[in-house]
């Protein structure tokens, strides 16, 4: 036993450096088919002519056709309408989910009342069970919101808020009550306590919630396709799908890839700016199943 204990540290130090180098080599090799090839294929073919892009090679274009492809994606691909609608959906949805979800999570985490607990469970249940989309259309028609952006946004809020309530309730439970109680004794109103004390403390979980939400909402095709009919209210994934399906059997890879790049770009730009916070936020904060 003692022999092992004495020799171990030495072998560990020796073996540490080897596997680390090996590990990074393996990760790099893995990243090539996993990331580099897909992204390179995407970018490089969006610069080619239709005939050249049809070969789907990784080679650089012999004939560059950059402006034409991207112009086609923007005009024929209805990109600007899609971008506008996606922004009009994403921002209010995220704002509403974070604010209303945080309000509810505060109450749920600080209360033991049966009614509130069951409401919490109903909200959390929406994480597990898939939304019933056809009856949603019926409900939206009854509310005179069918096919409208606001109807779609409301549906998104109602079906996505459960996850955030779940995450935020767990988070608030970890915050000591004393702060709120002392503010209450000092005579602060409930709203004031919420906005001035609680909300700033909730920043980490709200950030995680915003990241998960924007990924889900920005990229949703299923509900958008069923709830938003008509090209004026199409979101980016809908415009991409319509654009790519325009010619029945053949896909014009150069233009489709240009559209893919353009519709992914807003999130990619935000990610490039905030990647550190996104990665550390998702690893450290929030996600505790």
């Amino acid at each position: 036993m003692t022999v092992i204990a004495r020799t171990r540290p030495a072998t560990r130090i020796a073996s540490r450096r080897g596997p680390t180098a090996l590990r990074y080599t393996l990760l790099t090799i893995f990243a090539i088919p996993w990331l580099v090839v897909p992204l390179w294929l995407l970018v490089v073919n969006s610069f080619k002519t239709e005939r050249e892009a049809a070969d789907l090679t990784l080679a650089l274009p012999t004939e560059w056709q950059l402006i034409e492809n991207y112009t086609a994606a923007i005009t024929a691909g209805n990109y600007l309408t899609g971008l506008r609608n996606s922004i009009l959906i994403a921002i209010p949805t995220i704002a509403a989910v974070l604010l209303l979800g945080a309000m509810a999570a505060w109450v749920y985490s600080r209360s033991s009342s049966m009614t509130l607990q069951s409401l919490y469970y109903v909200s959390a249940l929406s994480i597990l069970l898939p939304p019933a989309v056809i009856p949603t259309i019926f409900v939206l028609t009854a509310l005179n919101l069918d096919g409208s952006l606001s109807g779609y946004a409301l549906m998104m809020i109602g079906t996505r808020i459960g996850l955030f309530i779940f995450l935020a309730t767990g988070f608030v439970k970890g915050i000591p009550r004393e702060l709120e109680e002392s503010a209450e004794i000092d005579g602060a109103s409930r709203l004031r306590i919420f906005f001035q004390i609680l909300l700033p403390l909730l920043k980490p979980v709200m950030f995680v919630g915003a990241v998960l939400l924007v990924i889900a909402v920005w990229n949703d095709l299923f509900f958008a396709q069923l709830l938003l009919r008509g090209s004026d209210s199409a979101t980016l994934p809908v415009t991409l799908f319509t654009f790519a399906s325009a010619s029945m059997n053949i896909i014009r890879w150069n233009e489709v890839f240009a559209h893919v790049i353009l519709s992914s770009l807003p999130l990619i730009i935000v990610y490039v700016v905030a990647q550190r916070q996104v990665i550390s936020g998702l690893t450290e904060g929030g996600l505790k199943g």
């Binding site: 090839v37 019933a132 056809i134 919420f194 998960l212 799908f241 893919v260 990610y271 990665i279 505790k288």
Partner: protein, 346 residues
């Protein structure tokens, strides 16, 4: 609850000041706020009565406040999640189509129609196979990535952030990218052709491979999140435990299987369940990669929902939607229970 007379409270307050001391007695009458009992109440007020009025008043106000804080989200969840969810049941048994105003009850007709056409069985099988493949690929890849990226060094930070990029791309777009990669002329076949010249297999033309690839792309898209969840799980394992095992002579694998793996249970539950539920509602990747084909070998339940909706057969679409729900309940709920139990046990 809110409407407690203020006079009563004032009285109680004054009484409190008048006779602060005195042992508690005759608790039984405290509940009755008759004015002439003020003095009696005062002698015991330290333990209860007036304070309790105050409490009740505050609690009433608090309850109202709580209601106001909870109401908006509850309303949204009820209107856009609970009501549609409940309505799905009658709609699944209704003759609702886009061709007539009437919605009648037609019993199991929608289901028998789907069963007769083979849609129900085929898409259920496709959906379950898809979900299982997706769950396996995603969790094996992301757990391996997490194990090699768990230490925070500049290099791992870089790898963590690049492996997250597919998460940002829509599953629809991911489907187009991979459809190009696995196409007969695409880079995959070109690479294989280096060893086997002339290799031009149409992966998406083969029913079995097509299911594999759509599920694979779904897993590819979400691996970044699952990896971070596993890293968080690994980092929450006390280092001392692993070091102790190391000193005791436990090897790499032994340490992983005996310590990390059981302690990863919460991360495991989260990832397995989210991938499974997500994959049971698969639609986007199928739409861009295969369009449900070849034949209907990649027609998942949700893909069939959109198809039926496109034909304006809303009742039939509801029936399929209902089936997705059943599938989630039948598969995911026992899985959650089982995984949770494992968590507690370990």
């Amino acid at each position: 609850m809110v409407g407690i007379p203020t006079g009563e409270r004032k009285n109680a307050g004054r009484a409190h000041g008048a006779r602060p001391a005195g042992p508690p007695r005759r608790r039984t009458i405290l509940g009755r706020p008759t004015p002439h009992l003020g003095l009696v109440a005062s002698s015991v007020d330290r333990t209860g009565s007036p304070r309790r009025y105050d409490d009740r008043w505050i609690r009433g106000r608090k309850a109202l406040g709580s209601a106001a804080f909870v109401a908006p989200s509850v309303a949204l969840v009820v209107v856009f999640f609970v009501i549609p969810f409940v309505l799905n049941l009658p709609f699944a048994f209704s003759s609702w189509t886009g061709y007539s105003e009437e919605i009648g009850f037609i019993g199991l007709d929608n289901f028998t129609l789907l069963a007769d056409r083979g849609v129900l069985v085929t898409s259920t099988v496709v959906t379950v196979v898809y979900a299982v493949i997706c769950m396996l690929v995603q969790n094996i890849v992301s757990l391996s990535l997490a194990l090699s990226l768990r230490d925070a060094t500049p290099a791992t930070t870089f790898f963590r952030s690049i492996f997250f990029v597919p998460v940002l791309i829509s599953p629809l777009a991911g489907g187009y990218i991979w459809r190009a990669i696995v196409s007969p002329d695409g880079p995959l076949n070109a690479t294989i052709a280096l060893g086997a010249p002339g290799f031009d297999f149409a992966w998406l033309g083969d029913p079995y491979w097509a299911v594999f690839w759509v599920a694979f792309v779904d897993a590819w898209k979400w691996c970044g999140v699952a990896t971070l969840v596993y890293i968080a799980g690994l980092n929450s394992i006390p280092k001392e435990l692993l070091e102790a095992a190391d000193i005791d002579g436990a090897g790499r694998w032994r340490r992983f299987w005996s310590i990390s793996f059981p302690l990863l249970a919460p991360a495991f539950t989260f990832n397995i369940v989210t991938t499974l539920i997500g994959a049971l509602s698969a639609y986007d990747v199928v739409a861009s990669m295969t369009g449900g084909g070849p034949g209907d070998s990649t027609t998942t339940l949700n893909f069939a929902v959109v198809q039926q909706f496109g034909y304006s057969f809303f009742g039939v679409a509801s029936a399929l939607n209902f089936f997705v729900t059943i599938l989630v309940i039948v598969l995911a709920v026992p899985l959650v229970m089982w995984l949770r139990r494992r968590e507690v046990a370990s």
